[in-house]
Symmetry: C2
Subunit: 273 residues, 2 copies
């Protein structure tokens, strides 16, 4: 089965394998791209992570994740900026195509979403020179509106692209179908993202009906209602031909053997993506 153009976000098997085991399992099945999380890198160390990933000739489609810029006070925001710079360094060290930014929601106790959005913009602007000099593009990931309060107050592709337009070179977007499939402006904004050369990553999974949990009930491709092939066609028409990165945060799939999850990802990538 085809594995070219497929990337596995290692959160998909985070409960089954550590980074080394996951990369080895991917390599064994012919998968040539992965996307690790900082937490996974921390477990075996940055140097060893880079060695394992490069040793298997793996493309790193995303490094997850920076962001979470809003905070109630200036020192909290500075702490976030410092931590994002560290994330940029790590992304550079493992040779990631981009650092994904889950930008953060409302600061604790706040109801000011416009204010949170301003903090996000300031935070990204503050780390952008460091990202540019390390040649790590920042992939702003618009998250589903159900995460606006506590994870990301950037919630549509249009909003993320407006942000990129203001911030300039070195910024782009991660298009995750789970977050964006419902948007009536999706097609137009994917085309715009292509014209503006902002597409840095394409993440896939599926939206289940019913969805039982806001965070950990993402579906395997084909098990939900997202028209994955149609969206992929739009993304390719917009000029992006990079890998489709499978990112499934699911308490259900985490219960199954890693090999089964990986085999299913490959199978569904071939049949429905």
């Amino acid at each position: 089965m085809r594995t070219e153009g497929l990337s596995i976000n290692l959160a998909t098997v985070r409960e089954q394998w550590n980074l080394r085991e996951a990369v080895e399992a991917c390599a064994k099945r012919g998968v040539r791209a992965v996307a690790p999380w900082r937490e996974q890198v921390a477990v075996i160390g940055l140097e060893e992570s880079a060695r394992v990933i490069k040793g298997h000739g793996m493309q790193v489609t995303s490094y997850c994740r920076g962001g979470f810029f809003p905070a109630p006070d200036a020192s909290g925001r500075q702490k976030a900026i410092d931590d994002n710079k560290k994330a940029i360094d790590e992304a550079a060290a493992i040779g990631a195509d981009c650092l994904v930014l889950v930008v953060g929601g409302l600061p604790e106790g706040s109801r000011d979403i416009a204010g949170a959005r301003a903090m996000v913009e300031e935070g990204i602007a503050a780390v952008l020179p460091h990202a540019r000099s390390n040649k790590v593009p920042l992939a702003i990931e618009p998250l589903h509106p159900m995460y606006a309060a506590d994870r990301a107050c950037v919630n549509t592709l249009a909003q993320a692209l407006d942000l990129c337009a203001r911030l300039g070179a070195g910024t782009g977007v991660a298009i995750d179908v789970y977050h964006l499939w419902w948007d009536p402006n999706l097609d137009a904004q994917i085309a715009r993202a292509g014209r503006e050369k902002r597409i840095l990553a394409h993440h896939i999974c599926d939206w289940l009906v019913p969805t039982r949990d806001l965070l950990l009930d993402r579906g395997m491709m084909g098990d939900g209602v997202i028209d994955l092939k149609r969206i992929r066609k739009q993304i390719e028409a917009a000029g992006y031909s990079g890998p489709q990165e499978v990112e499934i945060l699911s308490s259900e799939w985490w219960k199954r053997p890693g090999d089964e999850v990986l085999a299913t990802c490959i199978e569904r990538y071939n049949s429905v993506c």
Copy 2:
């Protein structure tokens, strides 16, 4: 405490009281507006419901609900149209200001959200003459994107207003803060809704952090992160001065005595809305 300008959507106390009991409890506390659901009307009958509501001189800010237009086949869609006409008749009989439309999501087995949206538009167009001749405005309620698959594929105020613009007289929008608070275009679209004379209802509750259930974990005003006063100001600036209708679907609040829920609604209406 002020009760003028407050309406209670009777779903808020649906597990505690039937329609008669709920209306009597509202009247006793000086609340002069309610919004009943069809299921509640059905329990005691349409005639008796109208008698109780009119007997207490209650304004009916919404009748809940029509919609659910998409279906896999033409006969299913016709059935929805027929049922919506019946809902219009009921809304007229109880003297409702509008019939709220929760438009419906994807037909079973479908991944075609653009197709579902077309079915919604066709369905509303099919019932609109009946609504006009009965003088029942149709309030399209954009629902939060987390309901796009199974409840409503109209998910932003802009999308609802575009729909109204195509459908014409007799259509408008219900602005529910729970569904729309996250939208970066909210202010602009509220202003547009005012200019286009489309605001038919203003629903309030709150978005809790964390939200534990996609459907039945709406918050009491003040318990979440929505800046209710700010949004109300925008809506009034857009020319709408009708009641704020409290609609809380919450397995938590349904466990408490109806009187406590009602008293809390009134208190929070005075303090945070």
